[in-house]
C-alpha cells in the first residue's frame, strides 16, 4: 500500500525538465494521491492539525524573537513591549502562548487515538517511537519557552525543573551547574534556554519528516485496525486529495474556532497570573504549578516520597510509551474488537485526566472536604497525595501489567476481513441507492 504507482504526468516543458532533475512536483503529487483507508474517522485528523500547530508556533515564534530580549534585566520588559507597543504584538504572543496549549490538546488526542486503535503495533512501531521522541521534544520546548518571559512562574518553574536533574545521585549536581551555567538560575540560563527554544522546534520538524516517512512506508492504520489486502486497495482506499484534505480541512476549521475562542476571549485562562510578576529570585510564589499539559507528570513526580524516585517515576511515565509496541501482546490492533481492553482504556483515560487534576491541587488538601479520613504512612487517605498515588499505580499497571496480560488472556471479537464489511453488514450500512460518486454531480 505504500509503494503506490506514481500517476503524475509532467505536462509543460518546465515540469518535464524539472522532473528528470529534481522530481519534487512528482513527490508532492504522489503524496496528494496517496491511497488512504476510506474509513478514517475524525480522530485521524489530528495529524494535520498538529502540522498546523507546529507551523503556527514556528512562524509566530520567529516573529516574537524579532522583539524579544534574552536578558534577565530586559526580558520581562521586552515581552510587555510586545504586548503594548509592537504592532499586533499582543495577537502574535497570545497565538504563540495559547498555541502551545492547543498543540498539547491535539497531541494528547493524537496519542490516545494511536493507543485506542493500536496504531503502534507492527509494522508501525517506528512511527510510534518517533512520535514519542516528538512528544518529549515538545515538552522540553514548551518548558524552555515558558521560562523566557522571565515572570515569577518562569523563574520558579526553571528552578524546580532543573533541580530534578540535580536529584540524580553523584553526577546530578555537576550536570545541574553545567545546565544552568552557574550556581543558580541566572542570565546564562536564560540565554541558553532562548537558544535551545529556538532550536528544538526545528528538531521537531525534522522528526515530523521521519514520522511521515515511516507512516507512508508502513501505511496508515484505520479504525478497523486490519492491514488492507493488496487486492482490496481499489475498493477500500481513496486518494488523500480531495477526500482527506477536505476532511482534515474541516477538522482544522473546528480546531481553529476553539483556538480563536482562547486567543480572543480567554487568552490568559490557560496561563498563570503570577507570570505577570517579574521574576524575583528571593521569593517563591505561594502555589507553584506547571502548565496544564505537564500536570499529569508533575502529579506522578509528587506521588513518590523519595526525591530521586519521583524523578525516575516521572521520566518513566514518558519512557514507558517508547516500549509500548512490545508491551502489548495482542495481535488485534483496534480496541473496537477488544471489549476487555477497551474498558481498561477508558479507565486509563479517566486516570490520566485525574492525574492532571491532582497535579494542580495541593497534595495535603482533602479530596472530599469535611470528611476526616485515616492517616496511612505519610499522609491522610482522604488527600490528593493518596489519590495521586492510586492513579499513578494504575498508570504504570496499565502499561506494565494490564496490556501484556489482557493481550494473552482476552477473547477478541471477530475481526472483519475488509474495512467495508462492518459498514455493509452493520446496522448503519449505507443505503444502496446513495449516490455512488457525489463528485460527479454538478
Amino acid at each position: 500500500m505504500s509503494e503506490h504507482e506514481s500517476t503524475y504526468v509532467p505536462k509543460t516543458g518546465v515540469e518535464k525538465w524539472l522532473d528528470t532533475r529534481l522530481p519534487i512536483i512528482r513527490f508532492g503529487a504522489d503524496y496528494m494521491s496517496l491511497p488512504t483507508p476510506r474509513n478514517l474517522n475524525y480522530w485521524w485528523t489530528f495529524g494535520g492539525i498538529l502540522a498546523l500547530c507546529l507551523m503556527t508556533q514556528i512562524v509566530t515564534g520567529i516573529v516574537l524573537a524579532m522583539h524579544y530580549t534574552p536578558h534577565v534585566d530586559l526580558a520581562f520588559a521586552s515581552v510587555e513591549r510586545i504586548m503594548r507597543d509592537v504592532n499586533g504584538g499582543w495577537l502574535i504572543r497570545y497565538v504563540h502562548a495559547n498555541g502551545a496549549s492547543m498543540f498539547f490538546i491535539a497531541v494528547y488526542l493524537h496519542m490516545l487515538r494511536g493507543l485506542y486503535y493500536g496504531s503502534y503495533k507492527a509494522p508501525r512501531e517506528m512511527i510510534w517511537i518517533i512520535g514519542c521522541v516528538i512528544f518529549f521534544l515538545m515538552i522540553a520546548t514548551a518548558f524552555l519557552g515558558y521560562v523566557l518571559p522571565w515572570g515569577q512562574m518562569s523563574f520558579w518553574g526553571a528552578e524546580v525543573i532543573t533541580n530534578l536533574i540535580g536529584a540524580i545521585p553523584v553526577i546530578g549536581e555537576p550536570i545541574l551547574i553545567w545546565l544552568r551555567g552557574g550556581p543558580a538560575i541566572d542570565n546564562a540560563t536564560l540565554n541558553r534556554f532562548f537558544s535551545l527554544h529556538y532550536l528544538l522546534p526545528f528538531a521537531i520538524l525534522g522528526c515530523v519528516v521521519l514520522h511521515l516517512w515511516a507512516l507512508h512506508s508502513a501505511g496508515q492504520n484505520n479504525p478497523v485496525g486490519i492491514l488492507i489486502p493488496a487486492d482490496r486497495s481499489k475498493k477500500d482506499m481513496l486518494p488523500f486529495h480531495p477526500y482527506f484534505t477536505l476532511k482534515d480541512g474541516f477538522a482544522i476549521i473546528l480546531f481553529l474556532l476553539l483556538f480563536a475562542i482562547f486567543v480572543f476571549y480567554q487568552p490568559n485562562a490557560l496561563g498563570h497570573a503570577d507570570n505577570y510578576i517579574p521574576a524575583n529570585p528571593l521569593q517563591t510564589p505561594a502555589h507553584i504549578v506547571p502548565e496544564w499539559y505537564m500536570l499529569p507528570f508533575y502529579a506522578i513526580l509528587r506521588a513518590i516520597p523519595d526525591k530521586f524516585g519521583g524523578v525516575v517515576a516521572m521520566f518513566s511515565a514518558i519512557g514507558v510509551l517508547f516500549v509500548l509496541p512490545w508491551l502489548d501482546t495482542s495481535k488485534v490492533r483496534s480496541m473496537r474488537y477488544r471489549p476487555t481492553m477497551r474498558t481498561f482504556f477508558f479507565i486509563f483515560l479517566v486516570v490520566g485526566v485525574g492525574l492532571g487534576w491532582c497535579g494542580g491541587q495541593l497534595p495535603d488538601a482533602p479530596v472530599i472536604p469535611g470528611l476526616g479520613g485515616v492517616v496511612l504512612l505519610d499522609g491522610n487517605l482522604n488527600s490528593y497525595l493518596w489519590l495521586t498515588r492510586l492513579f499513578t499505580a494504575y498508570y504504570f499497571l496499565f502499561f506494565l501489567v494490564i496490556l501484556p496480560f489482557v493481550g494473552l488472556k482476552e477473547t477478541p471479537l471477530p475481526i472483519p476481513a475488509t474495512i467495508s464489511e462492518p459498514v455493509l453488514t452493520g446496522a448503519d450500512a449505507m443505503p444502496a441507492f446513495a449516490p455512488a460518486s457525489p463528485e460527479k454531480k454538478g
Partner: protein, 180 residues
Amino acid sequence: MAETGVIPEGEGDPNRRDFIHIAAGAAAVGAGAMIAWPLINQMNPAADTLALASIEFDLTKVQEGQQVVIKWQGKPVFVRYRTPAELQRVIADDHASDLKQPQTDAERTKPGHEKYLVVVGSCTHLGCVPTFGAGDYGGWFCPCHGSHYDASGRIRKGPAPLNLVVPDYEFASDTRVKIG
C-alpha cells in the same frame, strides 16, 4: 435524489462546482491575507519607537561658528550656528552654477533664524557622516567618497546627488527648536 432543481449545464458555462472552487479559493486567499498582515505589520515601527519621533533641542548649547550633533530617530542631526562670513558666502553662492540641486539658503532655513542651519547629518551618497568644516566650500566633507558640501549643506562637488536633507522642524521659542 431529486435532480429536478439542477439547471442544465451549457457548454463551458461555469457550474456550481466551479463556483464552490472559486468561492473556497477566494476565502482561502482572504484568510491567508488576514493571517499574513499582523505577521508583516509587526516589523513596522512599534508605538514606543514612534513616540520618539520628535525631540527638542536647546540652541544656547551651540556656539557661533560651531555645530552640535544630536541623535534623532537614530540618525545624526547637525545644528550649526553659522558666522556672518559663512552666511555671506552661502547667500552669495545661492545661484552658483555648480549647484546640483539648486536651492537658496533661505529655502533651507527658517525666516528670522537664518544663522541656524539644521540638517540631517547623513551624506546623500551612501549615508556616511560628513566631517564638519572640511572640504573646498567650508561646509562639510564626506570622508567616504569625497563629497563637498557648503555651509548651507548643499552638494557642490563629489558623487552625492542631493543636498543634505533639512528635517521637519520648527522654533518652539527663540532658543528652542523642535525637530520632527
